[in-house]
């Protein structure tokens, strides 16, 4: 039996119906939200699923969590097919979506967890202790008896996280879990995700915060239009892109001569140049180019008699990788 969540050639098309005269009819070509996706989410590590909006991330998570049935391909969770053994699969997985949905306003935090504990058939003897653990984990022990309608947004989101853990899931699917969270809570959640993975939980993470992905994920799948574009560790993915180095240079005082020299240099190399001022009102130049132009820039500025007040060089990031790889795919499709 293979462990982990394994998808093979996963496909999902949604029937689209359009108005045609007085009736709605199926459109000629159904929309493919997921198109031939093969992934593996092993236990004990965080796997990333990245893509732009509409790439098929949420659809994938909804298929893995049994809410949607695939049109083609297979998904198994620890060898159990999600369609055939939906109930058994539901016991082993859970989903946490960003935002404040999925909990009841009128119930207290403890009652919400108790309610979902009953639905997940958490053994009676275990449930009480589990609720206490979770309330402690998300820092809601003090507010356990307060109805959720009186919660702040951050408190609700923490309860949503606790709900997703009520059944001690073997696999946790996280759909933008830190969306809208305050920085300290997001930080705690990232620590929690890392800890869960260390404890053996298989985690799938989608996120817009790429720093989060780079920090947590050992393996990342990058998808666009429902298909796999690239995969590997965050560092490998970043390396696959056309490298774009960013050189940021701040001058002590404005100097038209230096500006002219830098413009000429950018034009010569075909680099992208933006000129603005930093927080202290000093002129700031930002150059982006596949090659690291830092040496040429410094030489040119010094020769023109400019005084360098600050200099940073940023190597290409995962964000660059996503933008360039998905752009390339979009171009290829067109």
């Amino acid at each position: 039996m293979s462990t982990g969540i394994v998808t093979t050639d996963l496909r999902k098309t949604f029937p689209v119906r359009r108005w045609q005269g007085w009736r709605r009819r199926p459109a000629a070509a159904p929309v493919a939200a997921v198109d031939g996706l093969s992934l593996r989410i092993p236990p004990g590590q965080v796997t990333g699923l990245l893509g732009l909006n509409g790439a098929g991330k949420t659809t994938t998570i909804r298929i893995l969590s049994t809410l949607l049935r695939p049109t083609g391909g297979t998904v198994s969770v620890d060898g159990l097919d999600v369609v055939e053994h939906a109930r058994e699969v539901r016991r082993r997985i859970n989903v946490i979506s960003g935002g404040e949905r999925m909990v009841y306003d009128r119930l207290t935090a403890r009652e919400n967890l108790w309610y979902f504990g009953q639905l997940y058939d958490v053994p009676r003897a275990r449930l009480r202790a589990r609720i206490d653990e979770l309330l402690d984990l998300v820092g809601l022990t003090e507010a356990a008896q307060v109805p959720v309608e009186r919660f702040s947004r951050g408190m609700r989101q923490r309860l949503v996280i606790a709900r997703g853990l009520i059944n001690d899931p073997a696999y946790l699917l996280l759909d933008e879990p830190t969306l809208g969270l305050d920085a300290p809570i997001a930080h705690q959640l990232r620590a929690l995700i890392a800890q869960l993975a260390a404890d053996g939980v298989g985690v799938l993470l989608t996120s817009h915060y790429l720093a989060e992905v780079e920090q947590l994920c050992r393996h990342v799948y990058l998808i666009a239009r429902g298909s796999l574009v690239a995969q590997g560790s965050p560092a490998q993915l970043a390396g696959q892109t056309v490298r774009r180095h960013t050189v940021r240079l701040v001058l002590a005082v404005a100097d038209p001569a230096v500006t002219a020299v830098l413009r000429a240099l950018a034009e010569r190399h075909g680099a992208e140049l933006t000129v603005d001022v930093d927080d202290e009102g000093r002129p700031r130049f930002t150059l982006r180019h596949p090659q690291d132009l830092v040496g040429a820039v410094v030489t040119a500025v010094v020769q023109a008699g400019g005084a360098v007040a600050g200099l940073t060089v940023t190597p290409p990031t995962l964000e660059d990788a996503i933008l360039t790889l998905t752009d390339a795919q979009a171009v290829a499709v067109r």
């Binding site: 949604f14 969590s65 108790w114």
Partner: protein, 273 residues
């Protein structure tokens, strides 16, 4: 089975928190039915006072019997309508995102809708139920063949109501325009079920439509057992039909849940109708 019972208990808590102590219950389950009952009584009174009315319908000649006939109708209608209301509310869970959380869980869907209906019924209708029992006792209008008939009347009201609730919940979870169904099941329901008129006064086609709703037969049993000294033998036909309807409603609920969830898994939307 024990998992299913736990789901029912969980739904009971949810309904308790949603409804208990809410002013809406007091209004919609006691004040409005009473005001409407009074208005109905006065509206039909001119007809009941006509010279021929008591010959055609003995109840018409006695204002107290007329009022208890209408009050029994209001009681049963309030019970059944409380389930329409809770099912309508259940459909809001689609918007709040909690419905998705329910479908993520391994809980039996049937246990969910039955639990939701049964819990809503007890949370909603106890007030009017108590009021009706107290009023009927004080006014001395109850005529029962033997004490066992109280139990028959209660069961004939509650069991079909729970089946009705399970059916409505299943239907409204997947309904696009739940407000429309809600409206459809408000006034037309009392009209076809003989809530405000004896069944003989209704045209045949209305009676035929009314038979499809469990409220109609529940009401026949309730009035017969509590007001007209009917025994089990007298009520065998409506009780049998009620049992068949109850089974049918549970079966329909189960089918709707299966079809609805399968469709939701296919199309990604929880709206079927």
């Amino acid at each position: 089975m024990s998992h299913a019972l736990r789901v029912v208990a969980a739904e009971a808590l949810k309904q308790h928190r949603r409804l208990f102590g809410q002013p809406l219950v007091l209004f919609s389950m006691l004040l409005w039915p009473l005001l409407t009952l009074a208005a109905t009584y006065y509206t039909v009174l001119p007809v009941m006072e006509s010279a021929v009315a008591p010959q055609r319908w003995p109840v018409a000649g006695d204002p107290r019997r007329l009022l208890s006939f209408l009050a029994a109708g209001a009681l049963a209608y309030t019970f059944f309508f409380s389930l329409v209301q809770s099912a309508w509310h259940f459909s809001f869970e689609r918007v709040s995102g909690t419905l998705e959380a329910l479908f993520l869980s391994p809980a039996s869907r049937m246990a969910l809708v039955i639990g939701n209906g049964a819990a809503a019924l007890t949370q909603n209708a106890w007030l009017f139920g108590c009021f009706a029992v107290a009023a009927a006792t004080a006014a001395d209008v109850l005529h029962v063949a033997h004490p066992g008939m109280y139990a028959v009347a209660a069961l004939a009201l509650l069991v079909p109501a729970v089946a009705w609730g399970a059916f409505l919940n299943s239907m409204l979870i997947f309904s696009r325009d739940s407000a429309f169904l809600y409206t459809l099941l408000d006034d037309p329901l009392w009209f076809v079920a003989g809530v405000r008129l004896p069944l003989f006064a209704l045209p045949v086609w209305v009676k035929a439509v009314g038979l499809a709703f469990p409220l109609t037969s529940s009401l026949v049993v309730l009035r017969g057992a509590l007001l007209d000294r009917a025994d089990l033998g007298d009520l065998a036909a409506p009780l049998g039909w009620l049992a068949a309807l109850t089974v049918g409603l549970f079966a329909a609920a189960s089918a709707l849940l299966r079809l609805g969830e399968a469709r939701a898994q296919r199309t990604g939307g929880l709206q079927v109708f």
